[in-house]
Subunit: 398 residues, 4 copies
């Protein structure tokens, strides 16, 4: 069926890519070993440090975020190493499965997928590991399958309280550049991210931020690695180059996206996401539907996962919104398949795009005969007109 | 101030340009006299005939729509000629002023800007012109300044009833390709249009459709003309070329836009605009505001002009929506300056873009402290979920 | 037939459009009456003044260059006015025909199409016009059909020597931004230009630069005009706006093109064209072919027109280069149809694009069995490696 | 320094990306799990089979070609496995180093970098491996560092003659889609390729083609793998999806590039490259310079590596061509650093782009004072005008 107007890509990533980024990617590919490329490479690497809020190292892979998961593990660990992981949701589970495939021994703290990782459980687990056999604690910052956020600083504190030397590895694939992430201040050792969420790019680039401690661990780690090897990046990266052909045109886009994030200001970006997260939750509550994340302290401002009333199919509802309103919503994954849907409100986004999205959800609920109360979109409008604009809020705070 | 997300261009034209059209325009310029160009020229000229619903001639100018106004007059008329025009609003007034500048004698039937042209008044006027001195009747199909539609077929019938030989000239700059226009079936002699409305292109191209009768008149018309001269177009156009350099890259886009209109189907395009027009009017009524067009038979499905409550400034309100929600609305022009604003719902548009637009208006009314009732956006949602989808409606009708 | 690689657009305009310009044009159309547009409008108008080298007025039309020809005449002249024009070639002839269509009385100094206008003939003509009935002298700066340049300053001096008050109007459609043009210093009254030559844009914009004297003349001129009327531009232009919808996306491109010209530096741009003009002429001489322009003082650095040996068809040759090498060359127009071809070496161009072009010509001559000597491309290489680079030359001169 | 005109990217990959491909990549990112994506995924996977000339499996990774090297090995081999590799040049050496890093035991047949792999040496080596401990033979089809081609079919025959069960793995990163490659007919077990060479895309996608035998081997291979694991691809790929987020926008481009290759016809593509390879070699010989590949049977039609005369620096020469003519040439790598330069003549390319390239080389040799004879570009023109056009040659052969 012919579809007029713009598609609304309201999955929790890939997010809507700004025209400035798309146009930048549309320039001719250049010689990645020529002198002009060095400026592009340096800008990308330095720029990503500013986004991760780190003065330590960042590496960029031509790969999806899954590759950066693998890179985090193979650079720092050896076959059979124990790692503590936390079942915040589907993506935490996939990372754990990946660790297993690589020959590690992940230990998985179970959860009901309705909150971020519990630092107390992690601390208790680590305290029990008297011999410090656990080499790494891996958590997902913003669990894209559930819309729950792990308080990374609290996890760091838990590790420190336990006096445990494990590395702290954090997947912030969908958190970075949408909600605050402070690699250095929070004491993260390895961060994992990808291009297609808060960075507002198409998929195809992934990132590791690397602490000095992780760098030291990598010198002893024996899992086989080549493509993902950090050590081969260092030399070329220092001059703005890469050890193998980088994804040149995505790097053009990355540099523009970094500029855009700083033009808006990271604090304004985070405040904008917070505002849209709360407006969305107000809408969901008005509809009388449940938010999957049960702990308000862990609400994600990147996406909101909505639980369907018993008897209603989330996938049938999503098909209704796609067919009628040309809007893609995120599906429930694995354990929550067909039981939840996810509203992405991240990246290059604004109030009216949110209102389009919430209106589409509300109309979809009606057309799909999902029991709900009217007025969710209206509630979001009320919130948006009563709450401060992000820039006002930031200006007021300064 | 930094603006995240997409701008909402909800003026009644230029309308939102589809990415397919923008990308087509982004290809390298080619030799407009080379053999490959002929296919592009022919496709554009034939394609525009299908949009005007004519088997007579169409010409394309590299110019804004104003140029095609001028072309319509200078090709068919001579200095001092009397022409009957109808004050449906600001653009009808501008066309009349242009006629005056060119040395014609426009006679202007006055109106309150709240409806399309009244065929009875036209008929009466023509009947009074016993000597058939009036050479042309000029009406605006969709008056972009007011949101009122003139029933062109009724004007044709009025001319015929009066037994008057005047040419019928119609400005369908903002009507064409959004609401039905039938050049041949309605007996129009000269139609005027532009690229930046229903044709979903940037501004820069304008069009005349030309009846055999208008062509014959042009042989005798003596107003000086060169750029706009139809006669020089004919020879080159037949082979797909133009007498002077055409706006090549806009033609690339035009051919894609014509394809898109036919992929959707013109009837579906018109039904979509009708649906969005009615949804918008439901919202306006719910807000308790007046629609400038006072005659429901003349409601425009291209735009809706909303009258501000006494004491509220339309321009202050528009500034509020622009500053807070990055949405451009149309201003009140001339007689209705600052007293009305215009919501464009034309071109490359869909239900969620409309809901974003109406939500933005409703939130803007609140932030600008314009007296209104809540619930307009909600009313539009109710309408959209209760009315048939355009494609269903068309399928059902077949 | 499928064509791999890039097309070589070596007609003397439209010229090759830089990717930066194409990408700029590919951004969404915006509200041409909104506050953000004013910056774009002002930048375009001010930028064009810097290109014309004037502090007087510039206007921008959404039209091809032909429109700006018409604008120059209708704004300054009245029906029956005598104007002195000079037959430098096909485009001068077309401008004269246009003047005639508009009801003026052009008087046309004949020429063999092999040089620019002769100032002495102009001076003599004007001296004979004792009553100063001639209202304007119109010359073509760079005659695109022949590749001859008129020395505009010499024409100015001729008019002054004759003590004649006629306006000096100059078509620099294909000269501006490729060869030097100094509106103020040379005392031009009206200049005409277009977007698709040295300005490196697609066709669709045209320009007039306007002296105070021309402005004064326009107050008394009575030719009917509306679209082209300068007077209606003034008010809106001062604030960055236009009296009717401008060609927004072409203006985006124009502003980038102006930036690019200043980044390179106008002097460097002119030196580059001079270098490529001379390299081309060296090639043509080596092939043993004639350059249409017979006066080296009038050689154009924008294009080179090559005379075919008797018995060879220029059009058959051009078809050979197009079919075999995907290169468009300019045809001979009117009087010199099929007898000459034109090599464009203007706009966004460099040494290797020139070598591709000249190699294509040389191979085409061979494949089309046009009698010629080998070695033209080689001669151009010799010249390019022996002559200074433009930037060196300019640096040395400073 | 400001550079006018187009850059000439004449390294042997990334190659010049067609505008059609760049524009396709410039469309908004879509939901990679939505129903519309399936068509894109299927088209890409099926399309790549047609390019590899296989009816077996193809997988697509979001990665550079290096990733597909790693994927070939980790999917089929186990720690400590012996693999036979052949030192055709720098990239063969890098692949061997990668194998070593992964814990394999590569055995490396040495060579002087001046030809493709010698099948006789491979056969002899395999015959000596009585116990069939060698698990794979890995060769580079088109060695991008030297411009020598390995005759893959002869290697297959050598393995068969030796009666050896080793897998045949072929890196055709820079060969595929520029010179013939027949995965099924030649009995290749794993092929490796990348997007940025004959496929005319930016870097960021890599490929494996997989024989049934390789697929069977992968069931037993124990090297750890996850991102590169073929087994997880199979299920999603069958429906047009991927196990993790694919590089959506590069896939848009890939599908257009595949269309373009088939529109031209693979045979015509190969014939075009052969023509340009021979023209280039004629130029090099005329300059009196050596071609690094010493065996004409192994000449690459993708690139030509030129040996500098003793005493001349290849890098100084390359800097000269870059600074003076905005052309990037390939550097000598590792063993031949500064001693050779490489001319890429692959991908989206044509006769005039080649002439620009060869003219740039010839002028660069002169400006860099590299001893050489004039006339190389002229010799290439002579060849191009005497040899058949690819399409004629193919038509004649049919």
């Amino acid at each position: 069926m012919y579809k007029s107007g713009r598609h609304f890509l309201q999955i929790p990533g890939p997010s809507n890519v700004p025209d400035r980024v798309l146009r930048a990617m549309d320039f001719p590919t250049m010689d990645h070993r020529g002198p002009d490329f060095a400026d592009i490479g340096k800008k990308a690497l330095e720029g990503m440090k500013s986004i991760f809020k780190t003065e330590q190292d960042v590496v960029i892979f031509p790969s999806s975020g899954t590759g950066a998961w693998e890179a985090a593990l193979v650079n720092t660990l050896s076959a059979g190493d124990r790692v503590l992981m936390y079942e915040t949701g589907h993506f935490a589970t996939l990372w754990q499965a990946l660790a297993k495939r690589l020959g590690l021994q992940p230990e998985f703290i179970p959860s009901d997928w309705r909150s971020g990782a519990d630092p107390e459980k992690i601390e208790a687990y680590l305290r029990a590991d008297k011999n410090h056999e656990i080499k790494a604690v891996c958590v997902v910052h913003n669990e894209t399958s559930t819309g729950s956020v792990t308080q990374v600083k609290e996890v760091r504190d838990a590790i420190d309280s336990a006096g445990h030397p494990a590395l702290l590895m954090v997947d912030s694939i969908s958190g970075l550049a949408s909600i605050d992430f402070q690699f250095d201040a929070w004491g993260v050792d390895v961060a994992v991210s990808g291009s297609q969420k808060g960075l507002m790019l198409p998929p195809g680039l992934s990132f590791n931020a690397i602490s000095a401690k992780a760098r030291a661990a990598s010198a002893k780690a024996t899992l086989p690695k080549s493509y993902w090897a950090w050590d081969e990046m260092k030399g070329p990266n220092e001059k703005g180059y890469f050890p193998y052909t980088p994804a040149t045109n995505l790097l053009y886009g990355l540099n523009v996206a970094i500029d855009m994030l700083h033009e808006e200001g990271l604090d304004a970006v985070f405040a904008r996401h917070a505002r849209h997260g709360e407006a969305t939750r107000q809408a969901v509550r008005t509809w009388g539907l449940d938010i999957l994340c049960s702990d308000p302290r862990h609400y994600s401002n990147v996406l909101t996962t909505v639980v369907m009333p018993t008897g209603s199919s989330a996938d049938a509802f999503r098909k209704t919104t796609l067919d009628n309103f040309d809007m893609s919503l995120g599906s429930g994954l694995s354990k929550v398949a067909d039981r939840v849907f996810r509203i992405g409100h991240l990246g290059h986004f604004n109030d009216l795009m949110l209102m389009a999205t919430l209106s589409g959800v509300e109309m979809g609920l009606k057309l799909a005969s999902v029991p709900h109360n009217r007025g969710g979109a209206q509630a979001a409008m009320d919130y948006l007109t009563n709450s401060e604009r992000p820039t006002e809020a930031i200006a007021a705070a300064q």
